[in-house]
């Protein structure tokens, strides 16, 4: 895999820097991952690797129906099985929480249809394999045997799996307590439309009517899973002092602490959370899964309780990404200028509200400057597992539709798809669909990087397989950037080394990058910095790891902590050197007075002296709560070969250009880009949940849920474009989310280029290509589409101001 770094010549502001560092020493270096050796030698401790004496194992019983009233659950036989310590059902939860919190039982709280609250099905099951009971026993086998002894009487209810049916006025609501939320207010009658997101500007009808060329098309993506290698695992212990200790695979230990404290109705100080190494999260481990169940069982049994999901549990009953139906219309002038866009997005968010988001709109249409537009997104409930965040939530689906429509437009105009995108690409000062202006961004730079790359400029090479067809396609996408709160401490040791302490979870090399920032600012060798990811009793507060926020936000905190440590070192040195702190020079790990440069102190000497000097040890602290978002853009070129007789697709090459602001560690950045691209290829070509008519998942294993293997992953060439972000250190931007956004559309466009099949459903590979080839009109003509009659269109009332959305953690 080759990489090109493309400097843009734009100077980087290094905020708050009190010295000018002429040459950076560690920033931008390909230093090896700090925890790499532990991981490849199998010593790293993942979620399931922690055990305690006298520990019990828990297993859950999943609902046999996708939608059913729970008439009764008989657990007597299960509880009587030797080795079983507890069997708990949803009905037991209010009482247990009341005992833990010493408050009155409040069963009515479980009537609120929230996945986070209903850790076990409450009165009804709303998706297949939703947990209805858990058993804790001295071994996993006995826990499983206990489950087999539980008798659940169900009264099956009608199952609705198609969001376009579920959202209709005549559809029966899955929950009594879901009322459509809109920016204007909340509906009065229950509905399966949990939320409507609307964004508009100008007169879209007039603008579309005035367009020289119009494209209208409908697209649909499948429900897909994040596909993290490590299934969720958690261990909970309850101590006689009333405290819960949790060891879990999570993206945010403080998020689990507040979430669990909220569920158990105890103050956060009664919960201590230790995050393990995480074997992939991609957004899915931002929300709690097993922690409340394990905590409840630990309390009930008085013993530590461990729970670990199977792959089948993970696929059937965690939180995948919504499938999306969308209708996209764009209008342009003959010269390619986009004048109007209109779109409907239907996000199948599954059985509980959540999962949909404005990201689907902002991450797709947000790449283009369009004067008049109207976008509506619907979060629609169905009897499938409730969905959650997956890498740039809903961005890939939306961008698939938008990028496909743009290629259809380019085709219609006889224009190069890259030129069309360049003509309409957003730049600093343009506004996104939410009407927020962009700061300095680098979309055009990524487009130019692709436009001048040989993979785009050279003639298409002939296919390597006889009878196959070769094509290439491009796509763009963005991620708005994550911010949030981060804190870091830096302890300076007596030997002049440094320890960075954070409470943020390392998903993708955070420790390495933070060590680089600390080493850079302390001007000490990278090897002399240790980074500790501590538990919630020890570490300073941080929001969860997600939204591509860590290098940007935590990086700022570490940067500030290093500056703080440096300031303290200068103050302490000033005492020794008997000069004002302002006269202390700090360079290369040494301090001296500018008045007497011959007398030099090392950091270690200052640290050793200060701990006994009355000034105390040096502990730098840095925190950040608000940064300007740093949107990151990407343009990708995908090359494919297609077998027009079978529908087989092989991706032969990907060139991924991304504005990364500043690559602190290019190897880590490439890893993010390549990972995002490969996940996008799977989503585009082979991944998708298949449900039967009763709502049971037909492919709950990795044989039939087809994620790409190493053999399917092509060469991914990374073009690291460095347009520095306005805020934060070094111009860095978050890099994790955006590389998955353009891939789906780029693949679809490449397949069209290869064989003329405009595939409007994902996954593309196989039969959909043959279907599209059999109907060549598809992808050329506009598809007429009428939005379904909604249950909310008559009685939306403004009851209250909808609270500003909480930060979504991806």
């Amino acid at each position: 895999m080759t990489t090109t770094q493309i400097p843009t010549g734009i100077p980087t502001r290094t905020p708050e820097a009190d010295v000018t560092v002429p040459t950076r020493t560690v920033i931008g270096q390909r230093v090896p991952k700090i925890e790499g050796t532990e991981k490849v030698t199998g010593k790293a401790q993942y979620g399931a690797d922690t055990s305690r004496p006298n520990m019990l194992w828990a297993r859950f019983l999943g609902s046999a129906h996708a939608h059913a009233r729970i008439v009764s659950i008989d657990t007597a036989a299960a509880r009587a099985l030797p080795g079983v310590h507890a069997v708990v059902t949803g009905a037991d939860l209010p009482g247990i929480v009341a005992r833990i919190s010493e408050t009155a039982a409040a069963p009515e709280e479980f009537d609120v249809p929230s996945r986070g609250k209903r850790i076990l099905a409450w009165r009804k099951a709303v998706f297949h394999h939703e947990p209805v009971a858990v058993a804790a026993a001295i071994s996993p086998t006995i826990a499983e045997e206990a489950l087999a002894l539980i008798t659940v009487e169900y009264e099956p209810l009608p199952v609705v799996l198609d969001p376009e049916v579920s959202m209709r006025r005549e559809a029966t609501p899955i929950h009594d307590g879901v009322f459509t939320e809109t920016f204007a207010g909340k509906a009065r009658t229950p509905s399966n439309v949990a939320k409507v997101t609307e964004m508009s500007k100008g007169d879209v009808d007039a603008a579309l009517a005035s367009a020289d060329v119009r494209i209208a098309a409908s697209f649909r993506t499948a429900m897909v899973h994040q596909g993290y290698i490590e299934p969720q695992a958690c261990l909970a212990e309850y101590a006689p002092d009333g405290r819960f200790s949790i060891w879990t695979s999570t993206q945010g230990s403080f998020g689990v602490r507040s979430g669990l404290a909220g569920f158990l109705k105890v103050p956060p100080r009664r919960v201590r959370v230790t995050a393990s190494e995480v074997g992939g999260g991609f957004g899915a481990k931002g929300a709690m899964t097993l922690e409340p169940i394990c905590a409840v069982l630990a309390y009930v049994t008085g013993r530590p309780v461990k729970m670990q999901l199977s792959r089948s549990d993970v696929l059937r009953a965690t939180r995948p990404a919504p499938d999306t139906s969308m209708h996209v219309e764009v209008g342009a002038r003959r010269d390619g200028t986009l004048v109007a866009a209109r779109a409907h997005f239907v996000w199948d968010v599954g059985a509980y509200p959540g999962g949909g988001s404005v990201g689907g709109i902002n991450c797709s249409f947000g790449s283009y400057a369009i004067q008049d537009y109207h976008y509506v997104g619907y979060d629609v409930l169905t009897n499938r597992p409730s969905t959650g965040a997956y890498r740039a939530p809903n961005g890939p689906q939306g961008a698939y539709g938008v990028e496909s429509a743009l290629d259809m437009l380019a085709d219609e105009l006889g224009m190069s798809p890259v030129a069309l995108r360049l003509k309409n690409a957003v730049a600093e000062g343009d506004r996104n669909p939410s009407d927020v202006p962009y700061p300095r961004i680098g979309l055009k730079e990524t487009l130019n990087a692709i436009a001048s790359h040989p993979a785009w400029t050279s003639p298409k090479s002939p296919p390597s397989r006889e009878g196959w067809l070769r094509g290439r396609g491009v796509g763009c996408g963005l991620w708005g950037g994550g911010v949030g709160t981060s804190t870091a401490h830096i302890n300076i040791n007596e030997d002049g080394s440094a320890v960075v302490v954070t409470g943020a979870v390392d998903l993708a090399g955070t420790r390495t990058t933070m060590a680089q920032i600390a080493a850079e600012e302390l001007q000490i060798p990278y090897e002399r910095v240790q980074v500790v990811q501590a538990d919630t009793d020890v570490a300073p507060f941080s929001n969860p790891t997600g939204g591509s926020r860590i290098t940007y936000s935590l990086g700022t905190a570490v940067y500030r902590a290093a500056i703080d440590a440096r300031t303290q070192l200068r103050q302490r040195a000033a005492t020794v050197l008997r000069c004002p702190p302002d006269d202390v020079e700090y360079r290369g790990g040494e301090l001296w007075s500018t008045l007497a440069p011959a007398h030099r102190l090392t950091i270690g000497q200052v640290a050793r002296g200060s701990s006994g000097s009355g000034q105390g040890p040096v502990v730098g602290t840095g925190e950040v709560t608000h940064l300007l978002r740093a949107p990151a853009f990407a343009t990708q070129l995908v090359e494919v070969e297609v077998d027009p007789e079978t529908g087989a697709v092989v991706v032969t090459n990907v060139v991924a250009a991304q504005d990364v602001g500043k690559a602190i560690n290019p190897t880590a950045v490439e890893g993010q880009i390549q990972g995002g691209v490969v996940q996008g290829l799977g989503w585009a070509l082979t991944e998708g949940f298949v449900y039967d008519n009763e709502g049971r998942l037909r492919n709950p294993g990795l044989l039939d849920y087809r994620m790409p293997t190493a053999l399917d992953a092509p060469n991914v060439e990374c073009l690291l474009v460095e347009v520095p972000a306005v805020d934060g250190p070094y111009g860095v931007r978050g890099v994790g989310e955006v590389p998955i956004v353009p891939t789906l559309g780029a693949v679809a466009n490449a397949v069209y280029d290869a064989c003329g099949a405009r595939v409007t459903t994902l996954p593309i590979s196989g039969e959909p290509i043959l279907t599209a080839l059999a109907d060549p009109a598809r992808g050329k003509s506009s598809v007429a589409w009428t939005p379904p009659a909604l249950s909310l269109d008559i009685d939306v009332v403004i009851e209250e101001e909808v609270e500003e959305q909480e930060e979504v953690i991806e």
Partner: protein, 290 residues
């Protein structure tokens, strides 16, 4: 996983004795690549397991012109895939073995296990069907031979009795001027299961016409099976594109696919025709080169 009894006999006779003594509910462990997955993921834990680990007489591959090819029950897929004689004379078999799972799976899994597991999509089955394989079986009442065409009963089911062990797979030496091929369609490049698998074997006569042609299909019926009509149609014809297209069309008609998470019945039928055409073409090419 529930506990089960484990037996590791050191001879075939002893293995059969264990099966006879313990009765129904046992499974034979060769590579374990299907057995253990089924036990762990589907909860189908056998009452007892008889491992062939120490039955060394089953780990041989032999070939001679007169006796043909014999693959012992414990021979790994990898050994079959890489065997020079099998690659040269029984191309379809080495291809089928090379497509099962990963290298790790091929190092443990066996051809015999692939057959006894009786998946409709078993990659070793169509190649062995078109090459007239015979299964050698040892049971409480002695030895018997079962032509592979009579071996499969349904998904996961064979004619093997509870006391019987597959000893070896025997394949007659192919005639001169013959060739075989196996193709399958999978959405991923490897590490996948066949949506459709098609094997073809062709023998040409002295004039260069088709003396015999066999097509076998996988994943388009409850068992892998020979598309007999398709094969019969070609006999005596010139091995040209028209013949090939006609045979492939008939084979597609003989397929009995279902729609499931791996593909629709209509697409599978279409794939049978495409892959049959391609496989026959490759087999003819090999026959001409032989």
């Amino acid at each position: 996983m529930r506990a089960f009894a484990y037996h590791a006999p050191s001879s075939l006779a002893e293995a059969v004795a264990v099966l006879e003594r313990e009765g129904p509910g046992g499974r034979i462990l060769a590579g374990g690549t299907d057995l253990l997955v089924q036990a762990k993921e589907r909860g189908s834990v056998p009452r007892y397991v008889v491992s062939l680990r120490d039955v060394h007489e089953l780990s041989r591959v032999s070939f001679d012109e007169a006796g043909g090819l014999e693959i012992g029950a414990r021979v790994s897929l990898g050994e079959v895939a890489d065997h020079p004689e099998i690659r040269r004379r029984f191309s379809a078999i080495s291809t089928g073995a090379s497509l099962v799972g990963s290298y790790q799976i091929q190092n443990r899994g066996t051809v015999g296990g692939n057959l006894c597991n009786a998946a409709p999509s078993a990659d070793c089955a169509p190649p062995l069907l078109v090459l007239d394989a015979v299964i050698d079986v040892h049971g409480a009442t002695g030895r018997r031979e079962i032509p592979l065409v009579d071996f499969f009963v349904g998904p996961g089911r064979t004619v093997l009795g509870a006391d019987e062990v597959l000893v070896s797979i025997r394949v007659p030496s192919p005639p001169s001027k013959s060739g075989s091929a196996y193709l399958r369609h999978t959405p991923r490049q490897e590490m996948d299961i066949a949506v459709v698998g098609v094997a073809a074997s062709v023998a040409l006569d002295a004039r260069g016409d088709v003396a015999s042609l066999r097509v076998a299909l996988g994943a388009v019926g409850p068992t892998p099976f020979l598309a007999r009509e398709a094969g019969a149609r070609a006999v005596g014809q010139a091995p040209d594109d028209a013949t090939i297209a006609e045979v492939a069309r008939i084979a597609a008609g003989e397929a009995r696919p279902i729609s499931d998470q791996r593909g629709s019945a209509a697409w599978r039928r279409h794939l049978v025709e495409v892959l049959a055409r391609r496989a026959i073409k490759i087999a003819i090419g090999r026959a001409l080169a032989a």
